[in-house]
C-alpha cells in the first residue's frame, strides 16, 4: 500500500459450493493468500462489482481478479462479462472464465467479450489444479512487492 499497489482481491462468482471450495483450496495450496470474495449468484456479484451507482466506480483503481462461472442459475456468466466490459471502471479488470463446457463457440464468445483467460473445468482434475496453480503463480508475482 505504501508503494501504491493495493493487494489484488479475488472475486469468485461460482454457484456450486463444492467448486468454490475446490478452487479456493487449490489457490491457497499454490500459496496465494489474497483476500477472496465469493458469490453464489450473478445478481449478488454484479451488485457488489457495480456498486450503488451501477457503474463500477466503487472499484475504480482497485485491483480485482474475477473468477467467473458461466453456468449460473439466475443469469448467464456471459451477461455478467458483458456488463463488466460496458463499465468504464471495470473494463480492464482481469476476468478468468471457469466453466464446465469446452464448446468452441462459447469459448470464442467469451474472448470476444474480453475474457482474459478461459479455463474449462476439466474432468482431468490435475489439469485444473495446474491451471489454478499457474494462476496462483501469476498472482504471487504481482502480489510479492505488496506483501514485502
Amino acid at each position: 500500500m505504501s508503494n501504491g499497489l493495493e493487494p489484488i482481491v479475488i472475486v469468485m462468482i461460482e454457484d456450486d459450493e463444492g467448486h468454490a471450495r475446490l478452487i479456493e483450496k487449490n489457490i491457497r495450496r499454490a500459496g496465494v493468500t489474497n483476500a477472496m470474495v465469493p458469490f453464489t449468484t450473478g445478481l449478488k456479484a454484479l451488485s457488489y462489482l457495480l456498486g450503488p451507482d451501477a457503474n463500477g466506480k466503487v472499484h475504480a483503481g482497485k485491483h480485482l481478479l474475477i473468477l467467473l462461472d458461466l453456468n449460473l442459475p439466475d443469469m448467464s456468466g456471459i451477461d455478467i462479462l458483458a456488463r463488466l466490459r460496458e463499465s468504464e471502471h471495470l473494463r480492464h479488470v482481469m476476468v478468468i472464465v471457469l466453466t464446465t463446457t469446452d464448446d468452441p463457440a462459447e469459448i470464442r464468445r467469451c474472448y470476444d467479450l474480453g475474457a482474459n483467460a478461459y479455463v474449462a473445468k476439466p474432468m482431468q482434475y490435475d489439469k485444473f489444479v495446474n491451471a489454478i496453480q499457474q494462476l496462483g503463480m501469476f498472482l504471487s508475482v504481482v502480489t510479492v512487492p505488496e506483501v514485502s
Binding site: D15, D16, E17, G18, H19, R21, L22, K25, T40, T41, L43, K44, N71, P73, D74, M75, S76, D79, T100, T101, D103, K121, M123, Y125, F128, V129
Partner: protein, 522 residues
C-alpha cells in the same frame, strides 16, 4: 419428449376421413345434377320435335282448309257463270224472237258454245262437294232441254213461223226448266257457301293452334337454351371450384409442411439445448466428486505418511496436518461427494420425471377451466393465507376438451410460482382470465409479484434455470415442465413482465385436443 400418442394419430385419420366423405358427398350431389340436366334437355328437345310435328300438321290442315274453301268459292263462281250463260242465252233468244234481228243472237251463240264446256268443268267438282249424281243428271237434262227449246224456237223464227215459236214458249216448259235450274243453282250456292264457311272456321282454328304450337315451341326453345347455358355455366363453375379447391389444398399442404418444419426445427433446437443443459448440470456434481476424491486421496496420503513415521519422529506440525486431514479434510470431502451424488440423483430423477411426462398418454376430456383453476387455488389455500394473497378468477373461463392432469400441472405450477415470487411489500393478487379464439384457448395468469428481467423471459423456461435473486426454494424445473406440457397440448407458454411490478404468463393450448395438430409433440 417426442412421442406421438396413438389415439391422437387415429383421431387425425378419422378427421381426414370425415373430410373426404364430405367431399365425396358434394361431388355426388354435383354429378346427380349434371346427369339430370342433360336428361331434361333431351326430353325438352324431344318435346320440341313433337311441337314442330304438330305445327306441321296444323299447317297442312290450314293449307287444306284454305284450298277447300277456295275451291268451294270457285265452284260457286263457275256455277253462277253457268247460270249466267243460260240466262244470257234466254235473254238473247227472247230478244231475237221479239225483234227478229240477227244481232240479238250473238250472246246466245256464245252461250250455246260455252254452256257444255262450262257444265263439264263443274261436274267433277259438284260430285266432290256432295251434289248427288241424280241432281247433276237432272241439271244436265234441264240445261239440254232449255237449250233445245231455245234452239227450236230460234229455228222457227228464222223460218218465219213466229206463231209456232210463241206457242212453244207459251207451253211454259222453258220457263219451268229455267226455274228448276235456278233452284238447283241456289242449292249449289248454299252447299258451297256452307263448305266455304266451314273451311274458313277450320282455317281459323288451325291457324290459332298453329300459333299456339309455335309460341309453345318458342317458349320451350328458350327454356332449352337457358338450360343448356345453365349447364355450361354449372360445368364451368364446377371446373373453377375444383381448380380452386386444388390450389387451396396445395396451399394448405405447404402451410402444413411449413408448420411441421418449424415444429421439427423447434424440437431439434430444444433437444440441443436440453442435452446441453443436462450435460452441464450433470457434469457439475461429477466435477465435485472427482475433485473431492482427489482431496480425499491427498488427505489420506498425508495421514498415511504421518502413521508410517516412527513414533518419535512425529513432530507437532506433522501431527497437526494429520489431525486436520482426518478431522476436517476427509469429512468435508466425503460430505461434498455425498451431496454431489444426491444432487446427481435428484437431477436424474427430475429428468426422468420430465421424460415420463412427455410420453404419458394424453386423455382428452371435457373440462370446465373455471373449476380446474379454482381447485388449483384451493390446493394453495394454506400458503395464500400465510402471505395474505388472493387469487381472482375472471368470469367466462372457457370449457375445453383437453388433458386434465396436464392442465392441473400447468396451472398448479403457474399459481405456485406466482405465490412463491410474490412481492412481500404489497398484498399479492393473482388474476386468471381466458378466452377461446380460433380453436385455441388462451389463459392469462397475472401477478403483481417481483417480476422478471427482460433478458430472462425466455431463459426461465429452460430446464434448471431460475431468474432473479435465488432466495426461494426451487430446482428450475416448473416452467420447463409447463412449457413442455403446453406444447404437448398443442400450444405454448410465454411470459411478459415488468421488473418490480408483476408478470403475466400466457398459456395457449388447443381448445379441443382431438383436433390439435401438434398433439404429442413437445
Amino acid at each position: 419428449m417426442i412421442a406421438f400418442s396413438l389415439p391422437g394419430a387415429n383421431d387425425t385419420d378419422e378427421g381426414e376421413r370425415d373430410h373426404h366423405a364430405a367431399g365425396q358427398g358434394m361431388v355426388t350431389g354435383r354429378s346427380a345434377f349434371s346427369r339430370a340436366v342433360p336428361l331434361l334437355l333431351f326430353a325438352g328437345a324431344f318435346l320440341l320435335l313433337g311441337l314442330v310435328l304438330v305445327s306441321l300438321r296444323f299447317a297442312s290442315q290450314t293449307e287444306r282448309s284454305s284450298r277447300e274453301a277456295l275451291e268451294a268459292a270457285r265452284l260457286n263462281n263457275r256455277a253462277l257463270l253457268l247460270l249466267t250463260l243460260v240466262q244470257d242465252a234466254e235473254t238473247s233468244q227472247r230478244g231475237y224472237l221479239l225483234t227478229g234481228e240477227e244481232k240479238y243472237l250473238a250472246p246466245f251463240k256464245r252461250a250455246e258454245s260455252l254452256i257444255h264446256v262450262q257444265f263439264q268443268s263443274i261436274t267433277g267438282d259438284m260430285a266432290k262437294i256432295g251434289i248427288s249424281a241424280i241432281t247433276v243428271d237432272r241439271l244436265k237434262r234441264l240445261i239440254d232441254d232449255k237449250l233445245a227449246e231455245m234452239q227450236s224456237t230460234i229455228a222457227m223464227k228464222a223460218a218465219g213461223r213466229d206463231g209456232d215459236a210463241i206457242a212453244v214458249i207459251q207451253t211454259d216448259a222453258g220457263q219451268r226448266a229455267m226455274d228448276e235450274i235456278r233452284q238447283i243453282m241456289t242449292r249449289i250456292e248454299a252447299v258451297t257457301g256452307d263448305i266455304a264457311f266451314q273451311r274458313a272456321a277450320a282455317l281459323a282454328d288451325a291457324t290459332r293452334w298453329l300459333m299456339i304450337s309455335i309460341a309453345g315451341g318458342a317458349a320451350l326453345l328458350l327454356v332449352l337454351v337457358g338450360g343448356a347455358m345453365r349447364l355450361v355455366a354449372v360445368h364451368a363453375g364446377q371446373l373453377d371450384a375444383a381448380r380452386r379447391a386444388l390450389a387451396e389444398q396445395n396451399e394448405m399442404l405447404e402451410v402444413r409442411i411449413r408448420e411441421r418444419t418449424q415444429f421439427l426445427e423447434r424440437a431439434n433446437r430444444e433437444l440441443q439445448s436440453y442435452s446441453y443443459i443436462v450435460g452441464h448440470d450433470l457434469r457439475a456434481p461429477l466435477i465435485n466428486i472427482m475433485g473431492f476424491t482427489a482431496e480425499l486421496e491427498r488427505a489420506a496420503s498425508v495421514f498415511a505418511a504421518y502413521m508410517e513415521k516412527p513414533f518419535e519422529a512425529r513432530d507437532e506440525p506433522s501431527e497437526k496436518a494429520a489431525r486436520e486431514a482426518v478431522d476436517v479434510d476427509i469429512p468435508e470431502a466425503l460430505g461434498f461427494i455425498r451431496s454431489s451424488m444426491k444432487r446427481m440423483d435428484d437431477l436424474i430423477n427430475e429428468i426422468l420425471k420430465l421424460a415420463r411426462a412427455g410420453t404419458r398418454q394424453l386423455n382428452a376430456e371435457p373440462i370446465n377451466l373455471a373449476d380446474l383453476v379454482s381447485d388449483a387455488a384451493v390446493n394453495l389455500q394454506h400458503r395464500l393465507a400465510e402471505i395474505g394473497a388472493s387469487i381472482v378468477i375472471a368470469e367466462g373461463l372457457p370449457y375445453v376438451v383437453s388433458d386434465r392432469l396436464a392442465l392441473q400441472q400447468i396451472f398448479g405450477n403457474l399459481l405456485d410460482n406466482a405465490v412463491k415470487y410474490a412481492d412481500p411489500s404489497r398484498s399479492a393478487i393473482i388474476r386468471v382470465s381466458g378466452k377461446i379464439a380460433r380453436g385455441h384457448a388462451t389463459i392469462d395468469v397475472s401477478d403483481n409479484g417481483r417480476g422478471i428481467a427482460e433478458r430472462d423471459l425466455e431463459r426461465i423456461f429452460e430446464l434448471f434455470r431460475r431468474s432473479g435473486p435465488q432466495d426461494r426454494q426451487g430446482e428450475g424445473i416448473g416452467l420447463a415442465h409447463v412449457r413442455a406440457l403446453a406444447r404437448r397440448l398443442g400450444g405454448d407458454v410465454a411470459a411478459q413482465s415488468v421488473l418490480g411490478q408483476g408478470t403475466t404468463f400466457t398459456v395457449s393450448f388447443a381448445a379441443n385436443l382431438r383436433f390439435a395438430k401438434d398433439r404429442g409433440e413437445g
